[in-house]
């Protein structure tokens, strides 16, 4: 490589690393805004603003969904397996909505500590399996939601041990 080319290569690589650092710092500074939703832990800690539209996300707690048979009103609890958030919603739920499913709810936190949702979105995890496999898992005493619970447990344990998490603030 001629000295001129070498110099050019270093100039380009230097420029790229500077840009990367700039973008990295910007994203780091904006991390709270880039996160799509607050988790129940953050809401319990008071990180989320009251009476303003926010998004909260987590799993629908098993056995927490109660529907009003007369209307579309539904109440359920969103959990991250550490803290819980009560959600009230009136409207049509997405097909994937069920207990143990990840959801993102859009709405306002009220003084009673509940979130009044305007919109409920279902999250999907990265696991796919044929119905027979899911059934076999259930018969063996597992549910797909267990994997999520397990992951959250491990995450919480690591957090307590002081291992930094991707979701740390």
């Amino acid at each position: 490589m001629t000295p001129k080319r070498k110099q050019k290569l270093f100039v380009i690589l230097g420029l790229l690393s500077l840009t990367a650092i700039a973008v990295g710092l910007t994203l780091y500074a904006l991390r709270a805004n880039i996160n799509l939703f607050f988790s129940p832990v953050q809401i319990a800690q008071g990180d989320a603003p009251m009476e303003r539209q926010i998004r909260a996300g987590g799993m629908v707690k098993e056995g927490s969904v109660s529907r009003d048979p007369e209307s579309l009103d539904v109440e359920f609890v969103v959990t991250d397996y550490v803290d819980d958030l009560e959600v009230y919603y009136s409207g049509i739920l997405p097909d994937l909505f069920r207990e143990g499913q990840g959801v993102v709810v859009v709405g306002e936190l009220q003084a009673d500590g509940r979130l009044y949702a305007d919109k409920v979105l279902a999250r999907h995890d990265e696991n796919y399996m044929p119905p027979e496999v899911a059934q076999a898992l259930e018969e063996a005493g597992y549910s797909p939601a267990d994997f999520q619970a397990k992951a959250a447990e491990v995450g919480k344990r690591l957090e307590q041990q002081g291992v930094p998490q991707a979701s740390d603030y």
């Binding site: 050019k8 994203l27 997405p94 097909d95 979105l121 796919y128 044929p130 899911a134």
Partner: protein, 246 residues
């Protein structure tokens, strides 16, 4: 090694070697995509939660992979062109951009179509979706910038710089689902076949991914050859080639 790189500098040599390589990749792409599509859409089992709408994965994931890989290839070609002044690299980068933009669009569109039945919305400003939209704009920017200069060399250099700077977006796309809370779920497909999917779902997906890559290589070879002929139309070897054909 240097002899090989020196050979690469010559469009004539690239034209000759790509003539031998391109049919291989076209055949591989046709076979893999044909078998993968039928297997994935008709024979792979449906998902226990999403049913048949999960089959969008067989287009969505390969397209998203390609969208990112093509951008990286374009940036590497740009670097090679800027530092070593290899013209073929610039020609390859020129023909890659529209395919990359198309793949990004396919990934965004199939994702939106998939989002309606699964999430309940077709768009959300989450980190994965937004960074992917930025990638589409970067592609369009590279294409537009290349055409915006009256001299081709200036256009090539500007496009190369934008491609190299834009490549910073690629790790952001890839790790967005791990760094931030997003609506989009983390990656399912890995080459090692981690247990996020059963084998009979993963195998056709692997075929589709490899098939898409073969298609990208085949199309890039073919289009680079046309680009070589277009740019070198006044060179002696191209004229001789044309005379032979007549």
């Amino acid at each position: 090694m240097w002899a090989f790189i020196n050979k690469l500098r010559s469009p004539k040599w690239f034209y000759a070697i790509s003539a031998k390589l391109q049919p291989l990749f076209w055949v591989a792409a046709t076979l893999l995509l044909g078998v993968g599509t039928v297997w994935g859409l008709a024979f792979a089992p449906e998902d226990y939660q999403q049913g048949n709408s999960f089959r969008i994965i067989y287009v969505h994931v390969p397209a998203a992979f390609l969208a990112q890989s093509i951008f990286v290839s374009m940036a590497v070609s740009g670097l090679v062109f800027m530092v070593w002044k290899i013209k073929v690299a610039d020609m390859a980068a020129t023909v890659m951009a529209p395919l990359g933009a198309a793949m990004t669009f396919v990934a965004l569109f199939s994702g939106a179509v998939w989002g309606v039945p699964t999430w309940g919305t077709w768009w959300m400003w989450d980190a994965r979706l937004t960074s992917m939209l930025i990638l589409l704009f970067l592609y369009l920017g590279v294409i537009a910038l290349r055409g915006a200069f009256s001299s081709r060399d200036s256009g090539s250099r500007a496009a190369s710089v934008l491609a190299m700077v834009g490549v910073i977006n690629i790790p952001i796309i890839k790790y967005s689902v791990d760094w931030w809370y997003t609506l989009h779920q983390p990656a399912t497909f890995t080459i090692t076949g981690r247990a996020a999917m059963t084998m009979d779902m993963w195998a056709p997906l692997l075929m589709m991914v490899v098939g898409f890559y073969c298609f990208f290589i085949a199309l890039t070879l073919t289009r680079t050859r046309s680009e070589i002929l277009r740019r070198e139309a006044n060179k002696r070897w191209v004229r001789e080639l044309a005379e032979e054909a007549n």
